[in-house]
């Protein structure tokens, strides 16, 4: 991918360049996200934040830290573990949780496969299998608000999602019957058995997330930056060679310089060829890319036109 473009000016988050009373768009988005965290924590009793070690969840957690400083983050984090992990991401997850003194809950897809509550899919991907362990963890811990890193620019079904989005007692999302969301007056009230999903990054784009990571110097797992990796081509995506993803038939293993735009189930999350070794490189790359991050890297979203919509209706994040 050739990178020669004029980038829009990257606005610093903590220091506006002129003494005028106007926020940069990143400052505006940051302020909105902090407001959302504080509203939900004030109005509900048992929030939890979905934390996978992926960039969106890392940025979300960073915002949560800022929202309650100097008090600690007032809720635990939950990882729905597919068992198909990139080892460096799991290690990053544990390091972050330790550094911030958070309580980590893990809901394991593997446990469900072991005792037969879930069956492995023919295509081997475990992303869609996360829904049941997630809903069970919500019920078991009586979580009433679940913070997720979903963004509306990611996918067309997500474009219709509310910031504070009601889930019924089956965890279902009903896109045709959503609460209107007005001004900045978020309403997380719900009946017993229901809960809300909350998306503080709703109005952020992939580029905003990266610009914020740069401005705030946020640490990420190394695989977001260019590195050499053994990969093989399947359905037009570079998959990493690992315990759960092995080449089949005529698939050739090659060493490529790659990075990841998203982090999920290792067996179906593709790498992109890239020389972007720093945050600034990644921003330059994302600014000129012609493929969405899910389109480029998520096999499970390519299944049908409405794959994400269907999963969300069932309670997926």
């Amino acid at each position: 991918m050739s990178i020669d473009t004029e980038l829009p000016t990257a606005a610093g988050v903590t220091q506006p360049e002129a003494p005028t009373h106007q926020l940069s768009h990143l400052q505006d988005l940051e302020s909105e996200a902090i407001h959302i965290f504080r509203e939900v924590v004030s109005e509900l009793e048992r929030p939890v934040l979905l934390f996978s070690g992926g960039k969106d969840s890392v940025v979300m957690l960073h915002l949560a830290v800022k929202a309650f400083w100097p008090a600690p983050v007032p809720f635990p984090v939950l990882h729905v573990d597919t068992g198909h992990n990139f080892p460096e991401v799991l290690e990053f997850r544990d390091r972050t949780v330790e550094r911030l003194g958070l309580r980590l809950e893990v809901a394991r897809v593997q446990d469900y496969l072991d005792d037969g509550r879930l069956l492995e899919r023919a295509d081997g991907t475990r992303n869609p299998l996360q829904t049941q362990p997630l809903l069970d963890a919500i019920a078991e811990h009586r979580f009433d608000a679940v913070f997720g890193g979903g963004r509306r620019d990611e996918e067309k079904a997500r474009a219709k999602e509310r910031v504070v989005s009601l889930r019924d007692e089956f965890g279902q999302w009903d896109p045709r019957n959503q609460r209107p969301e007005l001004w900045n007056l978020y309403n997380p009230r719900h009946r017993p058995g229901e809960h809300v999903r909350v998306f503080p990054l709703s109005n952020w784009t992939e580029l905003d997330v990266w610009r914020y990571i740069e401005a705030e110097k946020i640490d990420l797992p190394d695989l977001y930056y260019a590195h050499d990796r053994e990969v093989f081509l399947r359905d037009g995506m570079w998959l990493a060679v690992g315990e759960v993803s092995q080449p089949r038939g005529s698939e050739q293993v090659e060493t490529k310089r790659v990075r990841y735009r998203t982090v999920g189930d290792m067996s179906c999350t593709g790498a992109v060829e890239s020389d972007a070794a720093t945050v600034a490189d990644v921003i330059a790359e994302v600014a000129v890319t012609r493929i969405t991050e899910r389109g480029a890297t998520r096999a499970d979203d390519r299944l049908t036109e409405a794959a994400m919509e269907d999963r969300k209706k069932e309670g997926y994040f």
Binding site: H25, L29, S31, P70, A71, Q178, L185, R189, L207, A306
Partner: protein, 438 residues
């Protein structure tokens, strides 16, 4: 520095709004190759001769199957100067509810009018809603200009009609321009086919719209979201005695040393410090999220308002306001509701329904109930005071939600009317109150 502009689009059925939004995204290069391929594929499958850009925005299965737009969708695009958040409000199903929702946060409302049809009843209603919600700028894109052969006379006719209605409704900042969303005329680039127009393209207009009112001219308002008191949970021992009030500044500017009043109690104190996780600030302004420390060790909790002393609002238990009714179940006098105003939620009872607005004329008409999509004026009695201000002076401290105490769902969007139009508990004469302007 790139700044954020929030816009809402609205229009009637078949006036090409989805195409316009698709065109804005496409021509500003916010549509990526895989999204376009998917739209091209679906267009082919449907047997269309052209790429249907509307498919870029209609994401849900039912929308694609039925060719309709169900709910407000949010879109993102950017130019070097500005980042745009676009609330795309569908025109037919529950259009009032959707337009009210989209307009509530919008700096700009973009309305679509089909040049062949001119002003429709629904266009008028969208203008009314935009005016009621005080969207600072309205742009009317007169679309399908290609279908009248770029005829200047027809455009002028429609534009004059729009200006006339806007003047009637009292819309202050309104601009019209001729466009063809299908062909991209005057959307991103100025079109050569409308030499008689000579004005900026839609995107140029959006880049030039001034930001909301200058915060320096506003009084300081800070609804407290929560008290931050780490106590023994503080990792750093120096914060064990810390007590700060977290919130998002609703209007104005604050500096350490400013004298402030805490409402509803009316206690006065000074700002000791403005804190953020990045360090203390010398000043902060709307809409920053910050934490304030105060000079006196007074006990403040969620829902209280820290305000500049001069012109501070008077706490009141009587709320007079215009509401957009969003629920299937009608509103009746005597109904109990929850009222969420800024960060404060209190119980309320509906004392009066003064009437509803005829959306075609914005003239009031008597009514005993409010039904879905009605806009009407009500008076509520509250169990505890709120620090409400006129919506026309502040969208943040002038707006409220009515919430169903049983389901927790949103019943209505409310806009506070007037410097309390009546004294606490005083009798209100229906005739005089019905004689309102907006």
């Amino acid at each position: 520095m790139s700044t954020l502009l929030r816009l809402a689009t609205a229009g009637s059925v078949d006036d090409g709004k989805s195409t316009l939004v698709g065109r804005l995204l496409y021509d500003s290069k916010s549509v990526l190759a895989d999204q376009l391929e998917s739209v091209e594929r679906v267009s082919r499958d449907k047997g269309l001769g052209h790429v249907d850009l509307a498919l870029l925005t209609d994401g849900l299965r039912a929308e694609r199957e039925q060719g309709i737009t169900i709910d407000v969708a949010y879109r993102y695009f950017a130019t070097p100067q500005r980042t745009f958040i676009l609330a795309d409000c569908p025109g037919h199903v529950q259009y009032t509810r959707n337009t009210v929702t989209g307009s509530s946060t919008a700096d700009v409302l973009v309305l679509l009018v089909d040049v062949r049809k001119g002003m429709l009843e629904q266009t008028r209603r969208h203008l009314s809603v935009g005016q009621l919600l005080r969207v600072p700028t309205v742009i009317v894109a007169v679309n399908k200009i290609d279908l009248v052969d770029y005829d200047e006379a027809r455009y002028r006719e429609v534009a004059a009609e729009i200006d006339h209605v806007a003047a009637e409704l009292g819309v202050p900042n309104l601009v019209t321009l001729p466009v063809s969303a299908l062909n991209g005329d005057n959307i991103v680039d100025r079109s050569e086919k409308t030499p008689w127009y000579g004005g900026p393209s839609l995107l140029e207009l959006l880049e030039a719209v001034p930001p909301e009112t200058e915060v320096d001219d506003q009084p300081f308002r800070f609804p407290v979201q929560l008290t931050i008191r780490p106590q023994e949970a503080a990792v750093d021992p120096q914060y064990r005695e810390y007590r700060g009030y977290a919130g998002q500044i609703a209007s104005g500017v604050v500096r350490p040393g400013d004298e402030v009043v805490v409402l509803p109690s009316g206690r006065r104190t000074r700002v000791a410090g403005i804190d953020t996780a990045d360090g203390p600030l010398d000043e902060a302004f709307a809409p920053q999220s910050v934490t304030l420390r105060l000079d006196d060790d007074i006990d403040i909790s969620r829902g209280e308002l820290i305000a500049s002393v001069a012109g501070a609002p008077t706490p009141t238990q009587d709320l007079d306001g215009m509401v957009a009714w969003l629920s299937e179940r009608p509103l009746r006098v005597g109904q109990k509701v929850l009222v969420k105003h800024t960060t404060r939620t209190v119980q309320g009872i509906v004392r009066d329904i003064y009437g509803k607005l005829d959306l075609d004329t914005l003239a009031p008409a008597a009514s005993e109930t409010l039904e879905l999509n009605d806009l009407g004026r009500v008076r509520l009695r509250l169990a505890a005071p709120v620090m409400a201000e006129d919506y026309t002076t502040s969208r943040r401290t002038g707006s409220f939600l009515l919430i169903d105490p049983q389901t927790g769902g949103n019943l209505a969007a409310g806009m506070v009317r007037g410097e309390q139009a009546f004294a606490d508990g005083a009798a209100v004469e229906a005739d005089s109150v019905l004689n309102w302007s907006i």
